[in-house]
């Protein structure tokens, strides 16, 4: 590797990020009420779990998983039914298990049955649509006056911050477990499977099993996110998963603006930062008067632009070149 770059170059390179961070903080401070600021952070923490799940499939395994919308709703369904029947904690735990099972199904379709990853995800998602409705029995369930893991913690953490604290604790536990897992032998094998499958098989690792394991973990996290969200908002909706894949992708892409290094720690921090930043950008846009119907369009545009960015840059470069030629 070459010698370290001079400091001023580093600062110049970091400048765009710093500007984004400062602008975001200013926006948050001056344009939102405190309750909105906290509410947005709460949502950011809950949806960080979604981003972490998508980080596993899309980034670590490097395989697109389109079942996300379905497994998010699966988490919602399992969680809301159990909370409705008086067992919110059991609801969260069962949602994680159910998400893992759904992930295994997608993984098995891909590895053992040779289904294209994109199609496998769609198959699982479509099947889950019926399964979720069966679990929920009706499209909407309200948890009004029912216990949730949030309301249960109200007495301990106080009226103002209990939702923040509960979300933060769950996220902290999940990301810590994920981080530690990715440093184990199994976790390293999982990472290597996404990095270089040839090498993995040549190192006597069963890459199929690793992919299934990865999908299980990814969807357990996505389902957990749905499970938390339904108890957070005290309502379960069988459509709440729609567009969650793109929301999660948008979060990851935003996070990667801040963290470019490809280490596990940075990857996890990046997913969380991105998910929180996404919620603030969204809240700000709604503050400016954006209709809440447009939130999905908004995330779709972010993802499309971010993915198209290299092509756009190239186009601009070419146009600029042509202009400078014509002007000569």
């Amino acid at each position: 590797m070459g010698p370290d770059k001079p400091t001023y170059k580093k600062i110049i390179r970091l400048a765009p990020k710093l500007i984004i961070v400062i602008a975001l903080l200013l926006l948050i401070n001056f344009t939102m009420m405190e309750s909105v600021v906290i509410g947005t952070l709460e949502k950011g923490l809950v949806f960080s779990l979604l981003a972490l799940g998508i980080f596993i499939s899309f980034r670590i395994l490097d395989i697109p998983d389109l079942s996300v919308d379905g497994t998010f709703t699966l988490g919602v369904a399992v969680s809301v039914m159990n909370a409705f029947n008086g067992s919110p904690i059991k609801g969260i735990i069962l949602a994680v298990v159910a998400g893992a099972v759904a992930g295994c199904v997608t993984g098995i379709l891909i590895t053992k049955l040779n289904v294209q990853p994109i199609l496998a995800g769609i198959i699982t998602m479509t099947a889950l649509y019926s399964i979720n409705l069966t679990i929920m029995e009706r499209p909407n369930i309200s948890l009004y006056r029912k216990d949730t893991i949030y309301t249960m913690a109200k007495d301990i953490f106080g009226e103002d911050y209990y939702k923040l604290v509960v979300s933060a604790i769950v996220l902290l536990i999940a990301s810590l477990l994920l981080f530690m897992f990715l440093k184990t032998q199994a976790g390293m094998s999982l990472r290597a499977t996404g990095d270089n499958e040839y090498m993995v098989r040549a190192s006597s690792i069963n890459s199929d099993r690793m992919k299934i394991l990865g999908f299980a973990i990814a969807n357990a996290l996505v389902s957990l996110s749905g499970a938390m969200y339904t108890q957070y908002s005290s309502a379960g909706d069988s459509n709440s998963g729609t567009g969650m894949l793109v929301v999660g992708l948008a979060s990851i892409i935003i996070g990667e603006i801040f963290f470019t290094k490809h280490t596990i720690l940075f990857g996890i921090l990046s997913a969380i930062t991105g998910a929180i930043a996404y919620r603030y950008i969204l809240a700000f846009a709604m503050n400016l008067g954006m209709d809440s119907n447009y939130t999905k369009l908004f995330s779709a545009v972010i993802v499309a632009v971010a993915i198209a960015l290299p092509a756009i840059k190239q186009l601009i470069g070419r146009t600029a070149k042509r202009f400078s030629k014509e002007n000569r």
């Binding site: 590797m1 897992f181 440093k183 184990t184 032998q185 199994a186 976790g187 390293m188 094998s189 990472r191 290597a192 990095d195 270089n196 040839y198 090498m199 993995v200 098989r201 040549a202 190192s203 006597s204 690792i205 069963n206 890459s207 490809h262």
Partner: protein
């Protein structure tokens, strides 16, 4: 000991592109043998290795390693006893993982991937020692992602990974062909050292005829999916590159490619 009995592989069976890549190949590799494999492009050399490693299923025949029938074992299952290097230096390592993580993965070859910590502290000392034996200074860069290394460095690291748990068999498929001559020579030197020190049974494909004679104790020549002839003992010791070329065109029925002549 590796034993192939009448191994055949046909690609695209029943189509116009049908290709018999291995045609009834039988071969016995004794423990400690270092066999070099040559043959023109498309002769079936890589297919032979892929058959042994389990990358391709064979249509006919049997493969034994130490008298154990491994014909039906999957690639990753055979990898417990077989180390492998490809021509492409990018294939043997995980680029986004560090040198020590790559070695850590290789070091648990053949074991169950558990929830134990991936790299133990005492393993790090071993990795450092093994890396310094390569003489490339990699021991001071163990936290560097492998993607930042040069092709030669990556190939040397792959060699270490393939042999850090001594395999029963080492397969080398033109593993220096993509490197510049100086680096190729260095990697070849490291290869010979590791193979000799650990007495590893080795099959090495090379397109370099003088290397084929200079290294190892036997040379086999493949042509059109068949074993054309083998060289060993006195005959091999006295063989020159020109002599081998002559023998080849008399026996194999096709000529070496220009690429091979030039090397």
């Amino acid at each position: 000991m590796l034993k192939l009995e009448n191994v055949s592989i046909t690609f695209n069976k029943g189509t116009v592109n049908e290709k018999k890549a291995l045609d009834n190949v039988s071969l016995t590799v004794e423990d400690g043998d270092f066999i070099t494999v040559i043959g023109s492009n498309g002769a079936g050399k890589s297919t032979l290795m892929n058959a042994v490693s389990g990358t391709y299923e064979i249509d006919k025949g049997k493969i034994f390693l130490d008298d154990k029938n491994i014909t039906r074992l999957k690639e990753y299952q055979r990898a417990r006893f077989i180390g492998r290097l490809f021509q492409d230096p990018l294939r043997g390592t995980a680029p986004n993982m560090t040198i020590e993580e790559n070695l850590g993965l290789a070091y648990s070859r053949g074991k169950r991937r558990s929830l134990n910590i991936g790299i133990k502290r005492k393993d790090l000392n071993l990795f450092r020692e093994k890396l310094s034996e390569l003489g490339l200074g990699l021991e001071d860069r163990m936290k560097t992602p492998v993607g930042l290394l040069s092709g030669g460095q990556r190939q040397a690291l792959t060699l270490l990974m393939a042999t850090i748990v001594t395999p029963k068999l080492l397969l080398l498929d033109e593993h220096t062909a993509a490197l510049d001559p100086k680096t190729a020579a260095k990697v070849m030197e490291i290869t010979e050292k590791i193979v000799k020190e650990n007495n590893i049974t080795t099959l090495m494909i090379t397109h370099n005829v003088s290397n084929a004679l200079a290294y190892g104790n036997r040379t086999i020549v493949l042509s059109q999916g068949r074993l054309a002839f083998a060289l060993e003992g006195e005959q091999r010791k006295n063989m020159t590159v020109e002599g081998l070329m002559k023998l080849y065109s008399d026996n194999a029925g096709d000529a070496f490619t220009d690429k091979m002549l030039l090397d």
